[in-house]
């Protein structure tokens, strides 16, 4: 009997919610549009973050340190330095380029420059040292990698340093600046995200509060005929959820069109990032976030906004 009763109650609450949505067409439309704007903000912010992340990752991947060894360095010594570098937690990848490979690459690069090739021929021997190319996990960690290279651990077996030069010290300012830009862009992105999401959710909350304010007399009548709190609140929560769902669907469709258009426009300067294919690839996740935010904002706004009128 009890289960029967609550089933009946849930059915009535949902039906009333849909009725209210349909009958107050204009209010519903306005609320859905405001919620759509909120969800679009959420959507655009996640795209913005994705673009930022990809661009930063791309920039980061371009930072590295090249260690050039003296031409007399033994390969075994170099490989042992490579090995100890690889044991450092900060280091992601170390690539060894031998003297011969360096020469090949040099020749290839200057294949059209006969004078350089002739000069090289003149020298008779390979003037290039082998190099280690080091990538750190994070740009801020290059300093400690460079420090390690300065230390005694990199001395050869006979106690003389075999490192000719480390280009970190030449690139230090650039690397530092980039590191700073990346970390502040990350922070700014987060602050902006939080701020915009809070603002747009407040707007959505206020809109729903307004629709409930319109119904305040109705709520007091419901109270006086002995309707329970959940019975009064229920249809408004359903209404909030419908607003959220409708807004989420409109948002997802809008994003579909906008990203398609943006992908064409931004293709030039975001060479490795296609916003449209990003959207399609991550559609499930994005849809989940958008629908989830819509439903949560709708339901919670209703619950919070109606509380004031339930005190009788």
């Amino acid at each position: 009997m009890k289960i029967e009763n609550s089933k009946l109650k849930i059915k009535r609450v949902i039906r009333t919610g849909f009725f209210n949505f349909w009958r107050n067409g204009t209010v519903s439309l306005a609320s859905v549009l405001v919620m759509t704007v909120t969800l679009l903000v959420v959507g655009f912010i996640s795209f913005f973050n994705a673009v930022l992340d990809t661009s930063l990752a791309e920039l980061q991947s371009k930072i590295d340190i090249n260690v050039t060894f003296v031409t007399t360095a033994q390969e075994a010594d170099i490989l042992s330095i490579k090995h100890s570098l690889e044991t450092l937690p900060e280091v992601l990848l170390v690539t060894y380029v031998s003297r011969e490979e360096a020469l090949e690459a040099f020749k290839e690069r200057h294949a059209n420059d006969q004078s350089i090739l002739a000069a090289l021929e003149e020298l008779g021997e390979n003037p290039l040292g082998s190099t280690l190319n080091i990538k750190a996990r994070d740009p801020s960690q290059y300093a400690s990698v460079a420090e390690f290279l300065e230390s005694n651990d990199t001395l050869s077996s006979d106690g003389i340093t075999i490192i000719d030069r480390v280009n970190y010290f030449q690139n230090k300012t650039a690397i530092d600046r980039l590191t700073k830009i990346i970390s502040s862009a990350d922070k700014l992105g987060l602050a902006l995200t939080v701020f915009l999401i809070i603002v747009s959710m407040l707007i959505a909350f206020n809109t729903i509060r307004l629709t409930i304010y319109i119904a305040r007399d109705e709520i007091s009548v419901m109270r006086l005929v002995g309707a329970s709190t959940s019975y009064i609140q229920g249809p408004f929560v359903v209404l909030g959820i419908i607003y959220g769902l409708a807004a989420a669907i409109i948002t997802l469709l809008t994003l579909f069109g906008v990203t398609y258009w943006l992908a064409g426009v931004t293709g030039g300067f975001l060479s490795t990032f296609n916003i449209f294919s990003y959207y399609l690839r991550n559609f499930l996740e994005i849809a989940l976030i958008i629908i989830g935010s819509g439903v949560l904002v709708g339901a919670f706004s209703s619950i919070l906004a109606i509380r004031k009128y339930l005190k009788i």
């Binding site: 107050n24 009548v221 005929v225 002995g226």
Partner: protein, 226 residues
């Protein structure tokens, strides 16, 4: 039985709405409460429905202090009391049928009960033809009859009508009073507040007169006196 035991209501700004009001209303009584605006009639009813708390004193309904009831019990209690207001307070987005059905749904009645009881109660107030109209399509008198039907449909023990004829013309006023009499004859307690001298004089029932928060007169068969 309804008992007000030395009930006072003093608002935070020290204005006194009720002062040591004591009165007893027996089951199946028809009581009219009269008095000028601000006499405390509506406050009395609000306190009875637990819409507001008394500053002092107790209010009992069937030997239970209504202000000691929990939330759920208050809902159950309110379903035993049918309310009719001067401004009708119908739900504008619901049809006549839905306005009445809503009260039954809130009380957890089944769909079958609703389908049989709503037309029945509308017949009682002579409004069956308007069952699918919205409140804005009804006249004042018709709206008040819907409100009475709504108050009646859950078969309450008590009907409270707070200035039900305040917004009605004489013909509609007469109709509404006749319906209230009919409800009383069906064995319910009716509490009516009004300004209308004609109604009081024609009823020949108990009249309680209030002034400045106090009961100044309580006549078994009263007339309206200025």
């Amino acid at each position: 039985m309804i008992v007000f035991d030395r009930v006072s209501k003093i608002y935070p700004d020290s204005s006194v709405a009720l002062e040591e009001v004591s009165l007893t209303i027996e089951p199946n009584e028809f009581v009219s409460i009269v008095g000028p605006s601000g006499a405390g009639k509506t406050t009395l009813l609000k306190l009875f429905l637990a819409e507001d708390h008394p500053t002092e004193g107790n209010i009992f309904f069937e030997e239970v202090d209504v202000h000691t009831l929990g939330k759920k019990e208050i809902n159950d209690f309110r379903r035993k009391v049918g309310m009719v207001f001067q401004d009708f307070r119908l739900l504008p987005d619901k049809t006549v049928y839905e306005n009445i059905a809503f009260t039954m749904e809130a009380a957890g009645r089944t769909d079958e009960e609703i389908e049989t009881d709503v037309p029945h109660v509308l017949e009682l107030v002579d409004l069956l033809p308007k069952v699918w109209n919205f409140p804005k399509e009804l006249s004042g008198g018709e709206k008040q009859r819907v409100a009475i039907a709504r108050a009646l449909v859950n078969d309450p023990d008590v009907i409270i009508a707070d200035e039900p004829t305040g917004n009605l013309d004489p013909a509609n006023t007469y109709d509404v009073v006749q319906i209230l009499k009919k409800i009383h004859d069906m064995g319910r307690t009716v509490i009516l507040t009004t300004h209308n001298k004609g109604i009081i004089d024609s009823l020949n029932k108990r009249v309680i007169a209030m002034e400045r928060g106090k009961i100044v007169r309580d006549d078994k068969i009263g007339k309206y006196e200025n």
